[in-house]
Assembly symmetry: C2
Homo-oligomer: 120 residues x 2
């Protein structure tokens, strides 16, 4: 039943985890990996890892589903509603229902973050 996806040493890759499609008109330079989700048997919520290249950004969007974000590497900014906030490694961010949001990486390095959401 249980599943372990081990991190590959020195890389932000995990055994048994593929990079999956993440397309949206406003996305620039982002990869997505589902660390734990339906393929593992998980229901109700999923743990995903997103990596934003320097200067890139996630989707500019809002939707009923919440996000729970944890920054794993790098620095950047998060848009919550109409305000940008600086974020860095270790910060935890709650994005509420229908809240406009976007994450972007600083120009000097990638921003990597975990994002828990109801769907993978």
């Amino acid at each position: 039943m249980g599943v372990i996806h081990r991190k590959v040493a020195g890389k932000y890759d995990w055994e048994g985890v593929d990079t999956v499609s993440y397309s949206h008109p406003t996305v620039r330079g982002v990869t997505k990996r589902v660390l734990i989700g339906p393929k593992d048997g998980a229901t109700g919520f999923a743990l995903r890892y997103f990596e934003v290249q320097p200067g890139g950004n996630s989707a500019f969007e809002h939707h009923p589903e919440i996000h729970q974000v944890f920054v794993l590497r790098g620095k950047g900014e998060v848009l919550l509603g109409d305000t940008w906030h600086h974020i860095a490694e270790g910060d935890a961010i709650y994005i509420g229902p229908d809240e406009q949001h976007q994450l972007r990486a600083d120009p000097d390095g990638p921003l990597g973050f975990l994002c828990v959401a109801p769907k993978a």
Copy 2:
């Protein structure tokens, strides 16, 4: 609506996050912090940080709720069913419904992990 809990530099503490009670007869040397949960307005699942002191362990338990675990620091072992598996920083672990489980830290340092669960 959105909430940011910034990590305190050099510590595994977060602004606006308290250490909360985590008692169970089988627990030894563990602290719990709810990084994102009902206090932030989050529903459906919660992001918690547990830190296990060297040689300590989380609860020996099983329950219908799943866990999605991500190791933030240190090394240790996870029990899934009747088998112990080595785990280290960056590993992602899915614990299924009613699966017997426990996490323990290696004797030489703390084990810190995120754990997403349906309840805080």
